[in-house]
Amino acid sequence: MATTTVQSAAGVTKTMVLNMGPQHPSTHGVLRVLLELDGETVVKAIPDLGYLHTGIEKSCEDKTYSQAITLTDRMDYLNPLGNNLVYCLAVEKLLGLEVPKRAQYVRVMLAELQRISSHLVWLGTHAIDLGAMSVFLYCFREREEILKIFELFAGQRMMTSYFRIGGLALEPPAGWRQAIDKFLKMMPSRVDEYEALLTKNRIWIGRTKGVGYISAEDAVALSMTGPTLRAAGLAYDNRKLFPYSSYEEFQFEVPTRTDSDCFGRYMIRIQEMRESLRIVQQALDKIPNEGPVRAEAPGIVPPQREKMKTEMEALIYHFKIFTEGFSPPPGETFVAVESPRGELGCFVASDGSPKPLRVHFRSPSFINLQALPKLIEGRLLADVIACIGTIDIVLGEVDR
């Protein structure tokens, strides 16, 4: 602990530099924040990151386009399907590939379930940071149900890699409708339960109302997106503004507020869970029982197993896809989707070879975290915990 002296109006006072993290339970991973404190007030905050940097963007350049999908799961481990989605959309745009409607709807449905599960982890951990233990247990109970649905679809709970270039990895499994239907019947009352525990809770209000305020102008200038920007009053949501994967066919609201504090962001996320449930219900009604889940694109999308046993071409394509991959035309694309944390973008540049020239992820956690000093400077030390929680960072995505 180092001490420095500063001149203040009242005379000579001392500030203390406090190192918070990287091993701190409330930093949701390995974030280090250097805090200069004057008593309990934060004078200056400097976030220090990179503890989880694994060079995913560099690794993508050394893999074929299909192989890189598995790496995207591992960035934002609370939103693996969203990461799969943005990467697949970017490569599909590069290829000019049209994905069948059935696959698009399944993608929407699972992406929205993923949003709910991500918000549940956020709510649980944010509440435990602020001292509400039971919410955490309830949230993880429901999240478990969503992970079971993912396991049913993909065979994996978290690192699903279920979305592939051109469609889905597998046909939706038997009994998937019943599983989703059961979840949809159970979930709305559970969201009410969380609200009953928190929304009018005096301690919760005391810890979150008026804490971590940021004006809409500052939020936009700092490139903040997602619930933080919507809580500041701007209805910026990629699903509405720049629809992808047939989102324009779904009815849903984009909740906004104007209080722009931790409580406002909490309310936004609660409402987003309800809106996501609406989208999942619509998707459930929309998805046809029959139909392709992969695009017809020989040489890019792997052929069906049955065809490989009877058709020579299918076998050759299968061999070529998994040995040398495919080569999209030279060009650059940028696709943005709405992840639970904000605008998740993927930039893919191709030079016409089977491996990408450059893959870059615009990760919302990384960019939203930039505003942390703005949220906490001049506030109390205890509010730092609330503010880190309210941005909803995932360090795997911040550092990539």
């Binding site: 560099k58 503004l241 990384f366």
Partner: protein, 172 residues
Amino acid sequence: MAENDSQKANVVAEQLRSWKSDAVAEVIEFRGDTTIVVPREHLRAVAERCRDASELQFNLLSDATCVDRLPSEPRFELNYQLVSIPKRRRVTLQVRVPGSDAVVDSLTSVWPGAGWLEREIFDLMGVRFQGHPDLRRILLPEDWEGHPLRKDFPVEGHRDIPSASFGIRKGL
């Protein structure tokens, strides 16, 4: 680039051309997206114009990234993804930078959100940003040598790798 058509009228490019004739070097249309190539010396002025002009209003800098096109020159290609929330429009600004003189103007004065994006590019690609208030490494340790996302940096890294069966494997 495929479907390269500089003659095609794009609203943003037209606006910028009518404001300053040499602000736009090239317009690339690819898969429905527009990329406007801006000469390096005009980058900050063009960015300010994009943000402030009432018919453009690109108020959100979504992303900034860099592509290393080694061995071709100009080696580095910086892409800025701009979003206009009021106009529901996206556009990409592109600047090309030679490898021998990898410096561009920082856009932190236009969009403060560029701060960490530019630090990331500096860290991983080694492009310097003139006028950036705090240009330090952000993801890698301070004492890291080199810029790993450059094409001449091997995927395995430069460091010697200890191995139980073969002793120390020499780095590339």
